[in-house]
Symmetry: C2
Subunit: 434 residues, 2 copies
């Protein structure tokens, strides 16, 4: 029996983070029997009681922990053996040296294939971002190891996650998807299966490598476009222009792509995926010219912000700065690759005392040395820096905060505060691109 | 009397090219009395008889040469003295060394202001692409020269043209516009005036420099985005992927910006405006990191194409290549900055005989040494190169062309031919990013 001949009823999701958890719920809510696996027993324990281990302000995830079609485990054998389809959604970060760290995918793929039943035709789908060729290579390696035949004992596919955590309308049950597979029939069938869990539909795009490349290209383009507006936030103020005035004017053109400049990009995708592309080029004997430049620009932003802050403070040493926001994105507690970390580290290096507030980030996720505070109201400081545009930051009582800010200077690292309103209530408004 | 107190009835348009002519017609058709000026007497002579000197397949410009509200001249005094508003739409190319050539704008601005009546409050609007500060600087210089006071004797504004020649829905009467002015009332009033000629509306964005920067930023971003897909057309084939398969998959994502790779960008904007941005950065003591890289990538494309063509021909020397298309854009006869020129020059240098066909381009616009032919059907050659995706090229009788092509190889420089259809009828299909 091969997979295309049977219906998909049981789905295992490997990795229950910002992608895996909502994907599991989307599969469950579309009628599938779901087994969610996470290697972190704390996560398993929480989710089994219906408690999310993630903080995301926009999604009221209703974890169906009492449903008979819902199971959470950390046992691969249990998850894989009972499933027609195994979806892998584990992180793909970079190493310290910015080369791709495929260890999570490798481990998940290997543990999955190890537990595949011979001749079961189990469909293994990777959703994590990788560069083209990785999915097939890892699967073939494990198949050989466990004496299984790819295309017979199991089928292989790749369908990049496109969830945009914290963004309304961009959840696992809404985004448009693509799928590539080693087998056309499997690919077409998976497009149908995914089409059931998302209102955005799913397109079969052919080979696995096409889908792998598409995901990498999407995020690399985004990094490039953001790099350009970040560069503009450095170049335009030198001739007296506020970058936001120019971007707002430009966005009236039908084909202009509006992005917001800021103290840098973060999270698990934009600062990471371009390195997968850069590495792919290197490995294949070509070279990316544009992506390394974009990375350089975006990575320079937290340090650029510190330079501006130092100028505004007349030197950073001994000064006290109140930083609002730590996660990489508004409405989320996710602090992976957050540029705020780089910024406050640099401030500390310069002898500044940093007090930081983020209502979404768990205490344990702040750097150890960092002074995270419970309430920004009433905190004495020399200057305030908006680092993440959480609604909770924007809607603070800025009149009261001003009373405790000795210089009266706010540095808007996200260009999210209303400049004229801030000036009206007495703030000296500065920020990226001003 | 200052300008904001009077109605605009008489409009002069300086420069009657791909932007000025449709803009003149748009003003006329919205009820204004229009005087069009061009320094080229041949253009004046043609337009006075209702004949367009431009080739643009998509716009059936109906030149209102018999209207009492329509006049064509090459006399600045006649055009400016009788007008409430003077709109300058002259070219802003680059010099050989890629620095901005402002000579046309300088001359047009100077000749306009020279003829402004004292205390008339004539509104001078520049539409040509410049970098921020140019409009004001040139106007101030001429004001001083002719002893006029800016803001009294005349008003100054900038409203970048956004016409996309040859593109349906992107004409002078359809595109969304912006306007900046030295005077808020004038700016608001001009937004209303422009709002009458275009269904896309017009937004007042504040200072002149904001509008100048917006235009420059729009086209620089476009150059950057195209550079990325062009880079992908070099890197992805090295791992066996067709760039078009990947881009089509990526474009299913809601925020992916789809652009077509090709043998290079041309025309009066994309290959030029980034140099205005690069020059602005240089002048203001900052530096663009990303735009020079994009320029380098896009400028490398015609040479990259020649390398591929040489490989396919097993050396270019003594071979005969039939090139279809010469202008920079489908449906247009405009060959300014066309990358096809670079490509065929390079082929010639390599000893290839180039035969070229473009139904839109005037004989005089081809390079002198170039063999432009009347009919591609029946022309014997070693290989066919699609260089401009004119419908007239795509819809040729490719079965007949194949009969006269010794290698049976077509190189699709625009990825506009249907690959599977071409292969079905017997062509060996190659191209950018294959």
């Amino acid at each position: 029996m091969t997979s295309e001949n049977k219906d998909i009823e049981n789905v295992a999701i490997i990795g229950l983070g910002y992608v895996g958890l909502p994907t599991s719920i989307a599969f469950h809510d579309s009628g599938f029997r779901v087994t969610g696996l996470d290697v972190d027993v704390n996560v398993v324990e929480k989710l089994s009681r219906g408690i999310s281990h993630l903080s995301d302000s926009t999604i009221g995830w209703d974890i169906p922990y009492q449903s008979s079609r819902w199971k959470i485990t950390s046992d691969y054998e249990e998850a894989v053996k009972s499933s027609d389809m195994v979806v892998i959604t584990v992180p793909t970060p970079t190493h310290e040296d910015k080369t791709p760290d495929l260890s999570f995918v490798e481990m998940a793929m290997d543990s999955t294939i190890k537990n595949v039943k011979s001749r079961s035709g189990t469909i293994v789908v990777l959703e994590s971002t990788v560069f083209p060729g990785v999915t097939r290579m890892l699967a073939e390696r494990s198949a050989k190891k466990y004496d299984l035949v790819m295309g017979e004992d199991f089928q292989l596919a790749y369908s990049p996650e496109r969830v945009s955590p914290g963004d309304i309308g961009k959840s696992a049950s809404q985004v448009a998807r693509i799928v590539g597979s080693i087998d056309e029939k499997v690919g077409m069938m998976l497009a149908e299966v995914y089409g059931k869990i998302t209102s955005g539909g799913c397109t079969y795009v052919g080979e696995i490598e096409v889908a792998e490349a598409a995901k990498m290209v999407e995020n690399t383009q985004r990094d490039i476009d953001i790099a350009f507006v970040n560069e503009l936030s450095k170049t335009l103020p030198s001739i007296g222009l506020d970058v936001m005035d120019v971007l707002k004017a430009a966005r009236t053109k039908w084909n202009f792509h509006y992005h917001e400049p800021g103290i840098g990009v973060g999270g698990h995708c934009i600062p990471v995926d371009p390195y997968y592309y850069i590495e792919l080029c290197r490995k294949s004997g070509t070279k990316s010219e544009i992506s390394p430049v974009s990375r350089m620009i975006n990575e320079s932003m937290p340090i650029f912000a510190v330079e501006k802050i130092k100028d505004l403070l007349n030197g950073a040493k001994g000064k006290e700065v109140l930083v609002l926001g730590y996660s990489y994105k508004p409405g989320l507690g996710d602090s992976r690759e957050t540029p705020v970390k780089i910024m406050i580290e640099e401030l500390e290096k310069n002898g500044t005392r940093v007090m930081i507030w983020d209502p979404f980030v768990e205490d344990a996720d702040f750097p150890e040395w960092c002074e995270n505070i419970d309430n920004p109201i009433g905190t004495e400081c020399d200057m305030v820096v908006l680092a993440t545009a959480h609604d909770d930051c924007l809607s603070l009582d800025w009149v009261r905060i001003l009373k405790n800010c000795r210089s009266g200077v706010v540095f808007d690292g996200r260009r999210a505060l209303d400049r004229s309103e801030m000036e009206r209530i007495g703030w000296k408004y500065h920020g990226i691109g001003v």
